[in-house]
């Protein structure tokens, strides 16, 4: 999977539209908030189109492309404009620049869908490759296991996240086994293939725990919802944070890992 080129770069006023993602809209408001704070810290003017719902991926992955196209069309209308769209999720970003054009390949409005894809950036990719930021200020005193989500395979997001995390004072990124393997979430796969999904998640948690991190970080809350939920259900909770929260917290808290987790 690769992001489309050329992609729309931010203009001088750094105006962006935020796609908060449905999972943050429903469960992880602090992640969406951290994304706003991080972007504003970088001098961006953040618009939040109020009509936004979901990127359409659940139905796309489920094979119901007619239902998915309905949602994508709504998203295209909602995000009308000519500035970059920033989304704190590699998965939703990939849906817009890769998945949606696939399910629209025979549709007359493919150009509008593809145009939205060219404007869409995953957060870390936008910070590093859109804005040219290569180091992150502040401090964050923690040992971090970074789970690179699968939808960032082949995109610039993984390297961008690595670069930002490695630049934060006090933060130590811990390698762990089989980092390239999927966590087992996979959207509705997590409930239609529960044994395989949780088998994959348990293996991922074993690898992560062996590295003894203070916090598990990812650019996708869906992976963390699965891993965190599995760990908690098993009676051994792990602390999870989105990359946006780490970036924001590095600017706050005097560099200490904050007491409350999102």
């Amino acid at each position: 999977m690769t992001a489309p080129a050329p992609r729309l770069r931010p203009a001088a006023d750094r105006r962006v539209q935020l796609m908060a993602t449905c999972i943050c809209d429903a469960f992880y408001d602090d992640v969406a908030g951290a994304t706003v704070e991080v972007l504003e810290h970088l001098g961006c003017t953040v618009d939040f189109p109020e009509g936004q719902t979901c990127c359409g991926q659940p139905a796309f992955n489920g094979g119901d492309w007619a239902a998915s196209r309905r949602v994508v069309r709504h998203t295209v209308r909602t995000f009308a404009g000519d500035c970059p769209v920033v989304v704190p999720s590699g998965s939703c970003a990939a849906m817009l620049f890769h998945g949606a054009p696939l399910e629209f390949e025979r549709e007359p409005d493919l150009p509008a869908v593809a145009a939205l894809g060219r404007r869409t950036w995953e957060l870390a990719d936008f910070i590093v490759n859109g804005l040219g930021i290569r180091t992150w200020p502040g401090r964050y005193e923690a040992r971090v296991a970074f789970h690179r989500s699968c939808h960032s395979r082949g995109t610039a997001s993984g390297a961008a996240s690595d670069l930002l995390l490695a630049s934060i004072a006090g933060l130590q990124v811990l390698p762990f086994g089989e980092g390239e393997q999927c966590c087992g979430f996979g959207g509705t796969f997590s409930v239609t293939f529960p044994h395989v999904s949780t088998g994959m998640g348990t293996l991922k948690l074993d690898h992560i725990r062996a590295a003894r991190p203070d916090v598990v970080v990812s650019g996708d809350m869906s992976c963390l919802m699965h891993l965190g939920g599995l760990a908690e259900k098993g009676g051994q909770p792990v602390r999870t944070q989105h990359l946006a929260q780490v970036l924001r917290d590095a600017l706050r808290h005097g560099g200490l890992l904050p007491a409350a987790s999102a």
Binding site: D25, A26, F48, E50, T53, G63, H74, G187, S190, V196
Partner: protein, 471 residues
């Protein structure tokens, strides 16, 4: 919610079997990656080029197939065309009958598994003996391969030792070297007695008509050493345009499949024995097998025909590692099988329509594929096909998306749902009104529902900013 068959199979898989599949696939995958990245500056570029070569072949079969037929005939081989598996089996039978042949020694070929050749010949009173060690064990156990390259990845040596004892191949001994030695001893006699040697082809060069075979056991050479007749059973997609393309493809095949720079044996066969040559089969037949491939060619999933059967996608696949190969209920397991098997099912797509769902779409398969097949995209296309055709297995256990799509295309309804979802925080998990949520909650805790909180926070932040204009 009704369960998916592959997930149920995975749930029943003995832990020991899962562990051995995991160790074996993980080991090969890691060695494969190390070899490729240690030895090549840009292996991903090589995968792309190899993919382009094979895609070119797939899209030009109409000219390449007649060209290679002419070349094969000029080389002295006889060429047969089989539209179906049944026709391919019948062609092999006719060749054997014409020679009065009764015994076949077989090298490992997936297409022969696909068409059920050994069983077909045995039913007609002919012997068709597998000579690849793994396939031999599968055959004596009346089992099925569970991996494209390692057919017995699901078996341990104790089971194999017991099978050998049962078949009269020696007293129980589970030392791998002893097992191998006993199989070799048994097979060597069979090579000498056989009338016909059957192989597949890893590649077939259109330019020269050369058939390329790779093995690690040398059994395909033995199959052709003493027999008078060579039959090569070849899927129509196995072509490469030129001999020089083999340099790239062989380099990728060995590394991707078994983490070897090159397999132990690589044979190039360009026809039957020629005058003046001391040995080799005097007769050579090539049976081209379609068996649904041209139907695949007509779909948007034709990229799957690039596959060179290395098994790298199986090795890296987290779902394959959890479920093992038999969970796929077909000759081709793993990610490639989840695409290819339903497509080759010819009119029975619905029976395997669940396989494209058996993936988290993580994309690891695409990342390791030596011919860069976009497997996740093909799985998605087949999911859409399953939905369009209303195949019940495609939707088993899956939450319906119609109501969700209505909600997600109407902002007012969406916001109401965000607010209403807070009820979830007060309802015990087992009473949750949505099957998908219940299924989630049975294995993972559900986070607190905070629908609408972000929007409230953002509005407050904007109001505060308006009251305090920036300096």
């Amino acid at each position: 919610m009704p369960n998916q068959p592959l997930d149920q199979f995975a749930a029943r898989l003995p832990a020991e079997q899962r562990a051995s599949v995991y160790q074996s696939t993980k080991g090969t995958h890691e060695k494969r990656t190390q070899l490729l990245f240690d030895q090549f500056a840009d292996p991903d570029r090589l995968r792309q080029i190899a993919g382009e070569i094979k895609q070119h072949v797939v899209e030009n079969l109409d000219t390449y197939l007649p060209a290679v037929e002419a070349k094969l005939r000029a080389n002295g081989a006889q060429v047969h065309w089989a539209a179906t598996g049944e026709e391919a089996c019948a062609a092999v039978l006719r060749i054997m009958q014409a020679r009065g042949a009764r015994r076949m020694v077989k090298a490992k070929t997936m297409v022969s598994e696909e068409i059920g050749l050994a069983h077909y010949l045995e039913e007609r009173g002919l012997e068709a003996l597998e000579t690849d060690l793994g396939e031999f064990i599968v055959q004596i156990d009346h089992d099925h391969p569970s991996h494209i390259v390692r057919p017995i990845i699901h078996k341990n040596r104790r089971e194999i030792a017991a099978s050998f004892e049962r078949e009269g191949l020696g007293a129980y001994n589970d030392d791998p070297e002893t097992i191998t030695r006993r199989a070799r001893q048994f097979l060597r006699h069979k090579y000498l007695q056989a009338d016909v040697g059957l192989t597949g082809a890893n590649f077939l060069s259109v330019e020269s008509g050369r058939i390329v075979l790779v093995t690690n056991e040398g059994n395909s050479r033995f199959c052709l050493a003493a027999t008078r007749c060579h039959i090569a059973l070849i899927g129509i997609e196995k072509l490469v345009p030129r001999d020089r393309d083999l340099g790239l493809l062989l380099n990728l095949l060995g590394r991707s499949g078994t983490a070897q720079p090159l397999t132990v044996y690589t044979e190039f066969i360009s026809g039957p024995r020629r005058p003046g040559q001391p040995d080799g089969p005097e007769e050579m037949h090539v049976v081209f097998v379609d068996n649904g491939r041209t139907d695949v060619l007509a779909t948007e999933c034709r990229d799957i025909l690039r596959c060179i059967r290395c098994g790298a996608c199986l090795n890296v696949c987290p779902v394959y590692r959890q479920a093992s190969g038999h969970a796929y209920r077909s000759v081709y397991p793993g990610p490639v099988g989840a695409v290819l098997s339903p497509l080759l099912a010819q009119g029975n797509f619905a029976a395997l329509a669940d396989l494209p769902k058996a993936s988290s779409l993580c994309g690891a398969c695409n990342e390791v594929c030596p011919v860069n097949i976009p497997i996740p995209d093909l799985l998605l296309r087949l999911r859409a096909k399953g939905k369009e055709e209303g195949a019940p297995l495609a939707s088993a256990g899956a939450p319906p998306m119609g109501a969700w799509a209505l909600l997600a295309s109407q902002p007012t309804a969406w916001k109401a749902a965000l607010a209403g979802g807070k009820l979830l925080n007060y309802i015990p998990a087992k009473l949750l009104p949505v099957p998908a949520l219940r299924a989630w909650e049975s294995r993972r805790s559900l986070p607190e529902w905070r629908g609408g909180e972000f929007r409230r926070w953002l509005r407050a932040r904007r109001r505060a900013a308006e009251r305090k204009p920036a300096p």
